[in-house]
Symmetry: C2
């Protein structure tokens, strides 16, 4: 099946679609961006989807609209996982470059790639040494170098989730932010690491030590909640309290692990915190030879964007590479806060105290 949303949109009886969309997606019609003819041609030639949607905000008297286009890229790996590392990476670079060029031509100003986008997600093998050469420097590694050029060329902010190795040979699961001049702006290291089923990330790297940075880019205040961090409400909350207008959630997740959550968590976070969320998951099947066994993992894509008022785009394909562009007006963030008041009614002082009591094993003062 390619997409649950596709079933809904295409196969529901016509007289039910409007009502269904309003309750399910939060609005009657998806507001679709008109894409260029060249974009359609390129996507057909290179076999990736391109979808575009827009989100409105109310016109204000004192602030100009702050409209910009976001880009989410989901892609499969290109070469088999036993090929030389440089070949594997170069093949991915080649594929992703084409998609970024299209994004640029469609006016995307902030773009985010999937978790550890430049390598297969080998964390299911439980092998470490064999794969260590995929780890790279956040500031000077090949992924950052490659994307910096594209960022500068297109005046685009790019978020590059990589496997980082630092000066001490410690690994981290890291999102690098490259600004619109092609400069390294900073990084965030994944705060919450899963040990779920065959994925045991704590065997590879440590929980992040960068807290909850928000990057004040030319276009928007952005943050990154990496993969499993989406299960943690406090992670989402802190990015919001630190000022994020958009939080990206680059992921690598398979259907057996909670595909039914995928449409829930980032959307809940957008609503609760009054910001846009952008969920990105890799696609395709990855095979690993492990002694006598072959391990296969299939990622279900389904990238999507949610606005602060809970309206979300349809999800991308479960199988196919693709670019999702979303035109957003950042003024929506404050407008939704004014409407709903979750920020005003948050009672953070109570929770700071309660959490401290829990941490000190004193129990909450019920």
């Amino acid at each position: 099946m390619d997409s649950v949303d596709e079933i809904l949109i295409k196969k529901l009886p016509k007289n039910e679609v409007d009502k269904f969309n309003r309750i399910f997606f939060g609005r009657k019609d998806h507001s679709t961006l008109r894409l260029k003819d060249e974009t359609k041609k390129a996507s057909e030639n290179d076999n990736f989807d391109v979808f575009g949607y827009s989100f409105d905000a109310t016109k204000e008297q004192l602030r100009q609209p702050r409209v910009l286009r976001l880009g989410l890229v989901q892609h499969s790996i290109v070469l088999p996982t036993h090929k030389p590392i440089t070949e594997q990476r170069t093949a991915i670079f080649h594929k992703v470059k084409k998609i970024i060029e299209i994004a640029a031509s469609e006016g995307v100003k902030i773009l985010c790639l999937q978790e550890t986008w430049a390598m297969p997600f080998f964390l299911c093998t439980r092998e470490k040494e064999k794969w260590s050469q995929f780890a790279e420097s956040a500031q000077f590694g090949p992924s950052t170098m490659f994307l910096s050029e594209l960022a500068k060329k297109h005046e685009m902010v790019i978020i590059s989730p990589i496997l980082e190795i630092d000066e001490n040979a410690t690994w981290w699961n890291t999102a690098v932010v490259i600004n619109e001049k092609g400069h390294y702006l900073g990084k965030h290291r994944k705060n919450h690491l899963p040990s779920v089923g065959s994925f045991s990330e704590t065997a590879y790297y440590s929980p992040g030590n960068t807290n909850h940075p928000v990057f004040d880019t030319k276009y928007a205040k952005i943050a990154i909640n990496i993969c499993y961090g989406r299960h943690h409400a406090l992670n989402w909350l802190m990015f919001g309290l630190n000022g994020a207008e958009i939080v990206f959630n680059p992921a690598a997740t398979i259907s057996e692990f909670g595909e039914s959550f995928w449409g829930i968590e980032a959307r809940n976070a957008a609503i609760a915190n009054g910001y846009f969320t952008c969920s990105i998951n890799r696609v395709g099947t990855e095979e690993f030879n492990l002694n006598d066994k072959v391990i296969k993992r299939t990622y279900y894509g389904s990238s999507y964007v949610t606005a602060p008022n809970g309206i979300r785009t349809p999800m991308m394909s479960r199988q196919k590479d693709g670019l999702l562009t979303a035109e957003v007006d950042l003024n929506a963030c404050r407008q939704v806060k004014d409407q709903w008041g979750f920020n005003m009614t948050s009672r953070l002082d109570m929770y700071a105290e309660s959490l401290q009591n829990i941490v000190e094993n004193k129990g909450d003062n019920q």
Copy 2:
């Protein structure tokens, strides 16, 4: 339209339903409870729906299954809102009693009613004095007296969300917990109060001062997150940290205010915190005469239950009174925590510190 879930289940092409259900609801088939013939008759005679679903847990070696049935009741008011208060309340008592008796005959052991279940939800009128006689004592008021008898008779724990007035004539939005012996066990006062659109609850009562109590009943450890509190991730979190196995969310909410969130928030909370959530919303249209105007508010029901693994039941009707019974095995809570590890990876010490910094206006140490 009666229910979005009904559209999905009944109108999707047959060959897509299984796949759709797995991704959307979290499992292929809804596991339906067989209800008694008398139940069906009663529901037809008195024009309310009864649905039953069950959730499994894995059999364990050292713990017996802890299986019990929960009951969620959604109902409309009975008499016009200008009628004498006692008449209005008695008519609701009469209707709800029938539903509770059916719940008892189906083996329900913990039952929860909707927010301020024994009155019209007049908070949209912005009038206060006129309605003040609906406020009642948590421990000795008519709602508690009425339900205590039923609780004792059926050895049923009942959660009774009321409009409370205390000795100081202060109002609170309160959930009373009555135990299986018919005794008042305690209460929780709504932590987060909306001032959204025409609903300005802060004009009526104060934010709760009872923190996040979990009630250790004969059948399960339960808590209540009242209505607008569902938008606050920290509210859900604290009930979980304090040990809740089931959190009820009694509500009174209209379609114009985020019906598209309704299926998201309580479900997200169940996943994030490893407990069952039970969402209950009133139904029907309520009319209020306000000077020369008539104000109407229509509630969309749609009550549902979510398991800690994110599987949820279909939602009840958007229009009709009803009882939703769910058979749960509380062992699922720990099993899901063992599988997903969100509790183990929560890093609460980091967040206690970050929140304290925010509260003290020091900013998070990014």
